[in-house]
């Protein structure tokens, strides 16, 4: 493991894409920043610009309007980057058939590295998911 990879794991900057969420996963992601969970311990920060991001946290199902934008955003991330599907919505697609505005589960749109199911997943789960993935890598 080179020093660059090591540092990459130690300093993850997170960008949060809300592709038609119900807001709950998003709030839980923000919760990760706050004193009880404090992801800055692991060097994680929430960034505002996609160009600074290392991790994309995607929440919510992907609707038809958001689909293009999510793709566009994925193109704009400097690689290497990790795509995390937070919550059950972006992970699976069973019941979405029913909505007229559904555009497919997230992995049909962009490649996904980590799935964190739950409605919503607790902040601990989100952190654990990302950390787990990084340790495996």
């Amino acid at each position: 493991m080179g020093i660059k990879e090591y540092c990459f794991k130690k300093s993850l900057w997170v960008f949060h894409i809300a592709a038609s969420p119900c807001n709950n996963c998003d709030i839980e992601i923000l919760d990760c920043l706050t004193p009880r969970y404090d992801i800055e311990r692991f060097g994680m920060l929430l960034t505002g610009s996609i160009k600074h991001a290392d991790v994309l946290l995607v929440t919510g199902m992907v609707n038809k309007k958001a689909k293009k934008r999510v793709k566009e955003l994925y193109d704009q991330v400097p690689k290497p980057c990790v795509v995390v599907a937070v919550g059950t919505c972006p992970s699976s697609g069973i019941l979405f058939k029913e909505s007229y505005n559904f555009a497919g589960p997230l992995d049909k749109v962009i490649p996904v590295d980590v799935y964190i199911p739950g409605c919503p997943p607790k902040p601990e789960a989100i952190i654990a998911g990302i950390v787990k993935f990084l340790n495996k890598k």
Binding site: I17, S49, I50, K51, R69, V70, E72, L73, D75, Q76, P78, K79
Partner: protein, 595 residues
Amino acid sequence: MGCLLGLVPDKARGLKGWISFIFLCVVFYFSLIVFKMENSSLTLTYPVIGSLSKFFHFRIDPLSKLVVLFIGFFGMIISLYSLRFVDGGLDYKGYYSKFLWTLAASFGAVLSDNLITFTLFWGFLGLTLYRFLRGSDERSVAAAKKSFILIGASDSILIMGLGLLWLKTGHYMISGMKVTLSGEVSIIAFLSLLIASLAKAGAFPVHSWVPDYTQAAPGSVSAFLPASLDKLLGIYFLARICTDIFILTPWAKLLLLTIGSVTIITAVMMALVQHNYKKLLGYHAVSQVGYMVTGLGLGSPIGMAGGLFHMINHALYKSGLFLTAGAVEKKTGQVNIENLGGLSTVMPFTFLSALIFALSISGVPPFNGFVSKWIIYQGIIDFGKGFSLASHLWVIWLGSAVIGSALTLASFIKLIGGIYLGAKRSKFKNIKETHFLMSVPYIIIALLCVGFGIAGTSVILPELITPVTGPFRFIGLWESQTVGILILLGILLGVIIYLMGNIKKIKTANNFIGGEYPAEDIQYPSVEFYKTLTDIKPIGWIYQKAREKYFDVYDWGKKIVLWASHILSGLHTGVLTLYVVWTIISLGLIILLLL
């Protein structure tokens, strides 16, 4: 020298650009020769003019040599630029002949030792200035009229001052005049000469013709006259006033320094809110004069050196800026910053030169503007050790100079950002870089800017400036080469870091606008930068007044004249004798005044 002067008007009728360019190369060569010549003074003797020949007395000293050299240089460079610039559809009838006439007159003005001859050439320059702008639309006519009236008025004041000088000294030779500033006559003479030189250079109270002129004139003319020649001449004359004609008293220094500081700040504040880039440059042409006036007003060799060096530098980068502005205008047809954008990729050379000029004018090290400003600062610090009131106020001069350069930078960011950077407009897709004949002049000037900056203290100063001012000692050290090397080293280090990074994986991507597709209407051009400034109350009020032309001498003059003519029209009886009586009375008054 006489031959040279005799030749110019004759050849000027050649009219074609190439001829004049080649001719101007020769002229430049001659001016180089002049520069190499020993100091001397010579009287031109033509049998034809006979006894009048005593007026044609020329003098070559380091100051005039310096100015001659650069007049020759700019003449050559700008005529090269004009080759491509002028062939457009504009009305450039007699462009080259006017060009050469102007050049000849300025050579004459600089070299003549006799004030009468000087005034002759000087007035002639005002005329060509007017002739150059004989445009078709109303605005340029108005601008031309404005500059002509302002310059003409200052010329008449100059003549009055000359009369007073004659009264005081009894002769018209610049060399050996050395009037001490005591008594009303010499003070009025000083003031009137000062006004003339300031009007030509374009300093605060009489500056208002410059922005209007540059707004209306084509780029090459702006680069030629207000940016380079008029500055060289005005400051040359100011230097003459300060060193040869008068001996400065502390009060005169205070006046000059005040004018300098006020000019720096006011003009740059006006420049901040301009939309038309040519007008913006015009205001900067005014603002930078403030530095030179400050430098000369210090009255010390070091200040003088700073002022003169700044004059040269300014002539370099400002003419360069006007040349690039002209190129942009020719290619796009737009004069407003807000309509432009993203030209840097299509006009890389123009962009790079403009960037260098902009950094130079703002005094960013290691470009030339910084060196001369730095010398002026040192002059001011040195000056602060004196005991007069002006010396005690040195911090004000220093502060306004430093703040002025910060503001200059601010407004140039707007210019560069607005014209060259940002999103490219779709209508400018097909624009290409200018013809190399047009771009070569400003590339040369840009290289000179860098060169003067890096070799400033070690080569340029001892070669060009010190002969004029006499030796002086720097109180602070600016080793421009060392700094240049360090900057190179820093850039190298940056490049190494780039190489250490993942530089091979460069990729282009869309701009991040929150994931939305970039559309043409989504942008924030740099014109809008300084809107907030006008929102702050006292500043906004001043801007409001400035927009209403409260600070414009010309407008005041116009108002007064209109008012006066309104009163005088009551005296219009149509009887001839009455007019004659009026004339005689006024003439008598003038004579009384003079005596």
